[in-house]
């Protein structure tokens, strides 16, 4: 998959760079903002794609795990005065623990039950998480304010925020470590094998159920990492993470199953696309339509292409 797609992916990267340069000349803010948002989308989408690719489960509670992460950072900041960036490690660990608990209690038992049960149960989990937050913290929006997250710089007469470039850094770091993990470590290779063929992996002696548990925990931990780095720049409310489930799925569908590099590319593409739509006067309300429109078109073309095969 990766080998066959690498040439096409290279052409795609070249095209994306050209388009980015054109946009950068026309409206530099849109490019900067698009790259920043797009990287964040990619960080959040990677774990969804991982669960979808290895376990074959579409986790509809993905965005709600992100919300839980945001609230975890908020609690650490508000009650213990922990700086959000320093809180990255505890939040990641907390989310990993929550992910493992949720997996053992629910997802584990529907892995063989078919997609209907999986869709229903993750939908149920998403509701439990968001309503739990609502019942404890009500719907009042909260925020974590740090001065450094609003620092900005001016390059060639264009003023833009610097903090959000952290998203790009984290996106690349997460992507590279995931790829190294999958290629170089024993557990990673086992994970890869389970994603390819769970039954075959079990026959050659791989502990498939442990791999599933590990992948789910790791994925939710990455969600925690994403929530910890984005928390100073977003409003924290019970529905804060919800849109990211669909956006993450849009990226995974665009990249294709098992294509992790493609997710970063898809994230940058949609991020820039969204920023351009927002830059057009009167376009800001329509950016969500663009996102979901792209999602629907991508899914449709994939379905039709697969139908012909």
């Amino acid at each position: 998959m990766l080998a066959a797609g690498s040439k096409r992916q290279f052409i795609y990267i070249a095209a994306l760079v050209v388009v980015a340069i054109v946009i950068g000349i026309w409206e530099p803010h849109a490019l900067v903002y698009g790259v920043q948002r797009g990287s964040l989308y990619a960080v959040i989408a990677l774990p969804l794609a991982l669960i979808l690719g290895i376990l074959g489960v579409l986790n509809l509670a993905h965005g709600e795990f992100l919300t839980v992460g945001l609230y975890a950072s908020y609690i650490l900041f508000n009650n213990f005065g922990t700086d959000p960036l320093r809180a990255t490690i505890p939040v990641t660990l907390i989310l990993a623990a929550i992910g493992i608990a949720v997996y053992l209690l629910t997802v584990k038992h529907v892995l063989k039950a078919g997609h209907l049960s999986q869709l229903l149960i993750t939908f149920g989990i998403s509701l439990v998480l968001s309503e739990l937050i609502k019942s404890i913290y009500t719907t009042q929006p909260r925020s974590v304010f740090t001065t450094y997250s609003y620092s900005s710089t001016t390059v060639a007469g264009v003023r833009f925020g610097t903090y959000e470039f952290l998203y790009l850094l984290v996106a690349v770091a997460v992507l590279v470590s995931l790829q190294l993990f999958l290629k170089k470590t024993r557990l990673g290779q086992a994970t890869f094998a389970v994603g390819q063929n769970p039954r075959g992996a079990a026959i050659v002696g791989i502990n498939v159920s442990f791999v599933y548990l590990f992948v789910f925990g790791l994925s939710i931990a990455i969600v925690g990492l994403a929530s910890a780095i984005m928390v100073p720049r977003v409003a924290i409310f019970p529905g804060a993470g919800t849109p990211y489930t669909m956006k993450s799925f849009a990226l995974s569908a665009m990249a294709g199953l098992g294509n992790l590099n493609g997710i970063l590319l898809a994230g940058l593409t949609l991020g820039i696309f969204e920023a351009v739509v927002n830059a057009i006067p009167g376009g800001s309300g329509w950016s969500d339509v663009v996102f979901f429109g792209v999602l629907i078109v991508v899914i449709m073309t994939r379905a039709i292409r697969e139908g012909r095969r």
Binding site: T106, G114, H115, L116, G124, L127, D288, V289
Partner: protein, 316 residues
């Protein structure tokens, strides 16, 4: 025989409810019937094996079509309810050509995305729809008479129950069951899979549109957040699951049970009472995929057991 007597008794009781209860109870049952109808339509689509998350989207589409017709073109509210359903049905028919090519998670997520698209488009057309703050209609349906509204939604629900019951006796029932169990086998037995899926998608969407239109005419108010609320997907889904999917009686029983329970919960738990629905969905999927109606029915009729009851639980 017992069944028929019971059915007639329940029917008479529900029809005559406005004569011996106050407006509060009528409004509770009014809401229960709204969600019961949606639960039935969601289940009807599920019977084809396609899990739709678009219930609240088509509900909202019918609602907005009807509200716009009344507020901007001065239509009669009752006519607008029919046209609201028609609009949802036509939209579903056109979208169906694309969406019904999809299967499994792709169908579900696309229907979910469509709901968002509908609500964002409506929010961005303020001249027509009133935008984010919504539109208030000149007057409520039947001038807000609780009894008339109650009879209206009761009639609609009875109609939907009848359609659902008829569908589970007709040839269509066998076709959609075959599609759910194994699509390739169904296709090779000469079933036109796409046509049946489209038929069910259009029927259920039309009914969802009608219920949505009735709902806004009753409260004389549309607003994107409230009209496209996830509640119109979530509650019906939980009700159908609790009662037992792939049947008519299941969603009906589930709606009555959860509807009454949620009235009580709202009083003791103002924030986040929906958590109960989430827990119920998770528990039912894990431990009781058949719902509660089937085991009870089986227990009641254990002397005259006909068998084959176990065949229907959430599966592939």
């Amino acid at each position: 025989m017992m069944k028929k007597v019971l059915f007639v008794a329940v029917l008479l009781l529900t029809v005559s409810l406005p004569f011996f209860t106050g407006p509060y109870f009528l409004s509770v049952f009014n809401t229960i019937f709204v969600f019961m109808s949606l639960a039935l339509t969601w289940d009807m689509m599920l019977r084809t094996g396609q899990l739709s998350y678009g219930t609240s989207g088509l509900f909202g589409l019918g609602a907005y079509a009807s509200a716009i017709l009344v507020a901007r073109a001065g239509f009669n509210p009752l006519v607008s309810i029919a046209l609201g359903g028609l609009f949802a049905g036509v939209t579903a028919f056109l979208l169906g050509f694309a969406v019904l090519r999809l299967r499994k998670i792709y169908f579900s997520i696309t229907t979910l995305a469509l709901t968002t698209v509908f609500s964002v488009v409506i929010r961005n057309l303020p001249k027509l729809t009133g935008g984010a703050s919504g539109t208030v209609l000149p007057s409520a349906l039947f001038n807000g008479d609780p009894a008339a509204n109650y009879w209206m939604i009761f009639g609609l629900t009875l109609g939907i129950i009848a359609i659902s019951a008829w569908l589970s006796r007709s040839k269509t029932h066998y076709a959609i069951n075959a599609i759910r169990n194994d699509e390739i086998t169904a296709r090779s037995s000469g079933i036109d899979v796409f046509r049946y899926l489209l038929l069910m998608f259009v029927i259920t969407s039309t009914l969802q549109g009608v219920i949505g239109a009735f709902y806004v005419q009753q409260y004389a108010f549309v607003q994107p957040e409230a009209t496209f609320s996830m509640n119109f997907l979530l509650l019906p889904l939980a009700m159908a699951l609790v009662g037992g999917v792939y049947s008519t009686i299941g969603p009906v029983v589930g709606a009555v049970l959860l509807g009454l329970a949620s009235e009580y919960l709202k009083l003791i738990m103002p924030y986040g009472h929906l958590i109960v629905y989430g827990v119920i969905i998770v528990l039912v999927v894990l431990f009781m995929p058949q719902g509660i109606t089937r085991p009870i029915m089986k227990w009641l009729t254990r002397k005259t057991n006909v068998g084959g009851v176990n065949s229907a639980s959430i599966g592939n």
